[in-house]
């Protein structure tokens, strides 16, 4: 009986691909629909696609915010799920979970880049870390997003460069986040999920 991952199901987007990736990696998981279900799990994934402000509102309605903020178990936010860990998003000018003192910003039009940032981007580690264990520096991961979390020398675990250097992955205590989609990033992405499941 392995440690079990709880997927925080607050109604933000499709999670079929995520659960499929966990199944391919034989990572045991279950769904969390209410705060009462948190204690059954050893770690949590916060998925999310779409609008950060709308996602935060759904999270509030699900009554799971306090459970998330107070946990000392490992948490992985994916894409918008990672952005939720920050203070604020320019998307809908939304106040978020404030786990890490960072801001989620829109790619500036003056950068002369295409938005959404779509495709496989090189990711470089900022620190040796357990989430990127056995993943070569400079590995490509699949991104699709219009908002990004600014680079921060303390909390950025790995960065990517797309007109601006931003956080591809971050860590604050037991909280981790990845801006890319590990469930769509080939073997390297699956390895991230595996590494998280073994924390």
């Amino acid at each position: 009986e392995g440690k079990k991952t709880g997927i925080i199901s607050y109604g933000a987007g499709n999670i079929f691909s995520l659960t499929a990736a966990l199944e391919r990696q034989n990572i045991p998981f279950g769904m969390i629909y209410s705060p009462e279900e948190f204690d059954q799990y050893d770690r949590y994934i916060i998925p999310g696609v779409g609008h950060a402000g709308a996602a935060m509102q759904k999270l509030e309605e699900s009554r799971m915010i306090e459970k998330i903020k107070s946990t000392s178990k490992p948490v992985l936010g994916i894409c918008v799920g990672m952005q939720l860990l920050t203070d604020f998003s320019e998307e809908g000018n939304a106040h978020l979970l404030s786990i890490a003192p960072l801001r989620t910003r829109h790619f500036d039009e003056t950068l002369q880049i295409k938005v959404p940032h779509t495709g496989w981007n090189k990711v470089c580690s900022q620190f040796e870390n357990e989430l990127f264990n056995d993943i070569k520096d400079g590995t490509y991961f699949y991104f699709v997003h219009s908002y990004f979390i600014e680079f921060n020398p303390t909390f950025t675990l790995a960065f990517a460069d797309y007109g601006v250097k931003f956080s591809a992955a971050l860590k604050k205590n037991n909280f981790y986040g990845v801006q890319f989609h590990p469930e769509k990033s080939g073997e390297a992405g699956e390895k991230i999920l595996k590494n998280f499941s073994e924390l």
Partner: protein, 252 residues
């Protein structure tokens, strides 16, 4: 840099089976789109497009089953196109694991569909496919796989769908499609320079050099092809090695 140019094999699917023959070695079933998709992902394809050309009433059911099967087994992103006419169609495909949907004729018939889809699912989910053909010096949008002309100018149409919320454009030149004479680099460059969302080039791929040309001459974000990959005329690992040698950023 840091963002790799994408190589995208396109699979035509009818009644849940791929229709163009495929002569890969070691394929148990050359018609099985899931097995093919898996094979391409292993070869280093960056993304896949499935074009559903089923005409029967059962199409939605077979499409959803296909999307689920692909999402279960394949670890790269994929787009589903064909027969998506309303929000409900897209919603089912999203929940079955599709990363993006592609709309073509439906967008021309009711352009508001682009806005509705972008609002409902985010623009990253919405690819607008455009089939274009040059008629008397004008690039005009065509419908039904290039069979039905419209009087809509291609560049103008692409600008319009960008404003309406398209997250990506898949542009197929009907003049080049099937010729294996190279992509329509003149048009692709003109379009690519005029938009700020990603552009996928399609139509005309016949050799590795054509992919080098399209990336160097137009700077599009991705290039799509079907038969050259299905018949093994171009192998994705070889193609990527060539592109890399030409200093075009690709994922290995």
């Amino acid at each position: 840099g840091g963002l790799a140019k994408r190589i995208i094999p396109c699979l035509d699917v009818k009644d849940g089976r791929t229709v163009k023959g495929v002569n890969f070695v070691d394929l148990r079933d050359a018609g099985d789109p899931v097995e093919l998709a898996w094979q391409y992902s292993q070869q280093g394809a960056d993304e896949l497009v499935f074009l559903d050309i089923t005409a029967t009433h059962e199409r939605r059911k077979t499409m959803v089953e296909l999307v689920k099967a692909v999402a279960r087994q394949v670890n790269i992103p994929f787009t589903i196109g064909g027969g998506i006419n309303e929000i409900a169609d897209a919603d089912i495909l999203l929940n079955a694991g599709a990363d993006k949907i592609s709309i073509n004729s439906a967008a021309v018939r009711s352009p508001e569909l682009v806005n509705e889809l972008a609002n409902a699912f985010g623009k990253q989910f919405v690819v607008v496919a455009v089939d274009t053909k040059n008629i008397n010096g004008k690039n005009l949008v065509h419908l039904n796989g290039g069979r039905i002309p419209t009087d809509i100018e291609t560049k103008k149409w692409i600008k319009e769908v960008e404003e309406r919320g398209a997250g990506e454009i898949l542009l197929t030149s009907m003049d080049h499609d099937g010729t294996k004479g190279g992509f329509d680099n003149t048009l692709l460059k003109k379009i690519n320079d005029s938009i700020s969302i990603p552009l996928i080039a399609s139509g005309g791929a016949g050799s590795e050099q054509h992919f080098i040309d399209v990336f160097k001459l137009t700077n599009v974000d991705a290039a799509l092809a079907a038969s050259v990959f299905h018949y093994g005329e171009i192998l994705i690992p070889d193609l990527k090695a060539k592109l890399k040698k030409e200093n075009i950023e690709v994922r290995f």
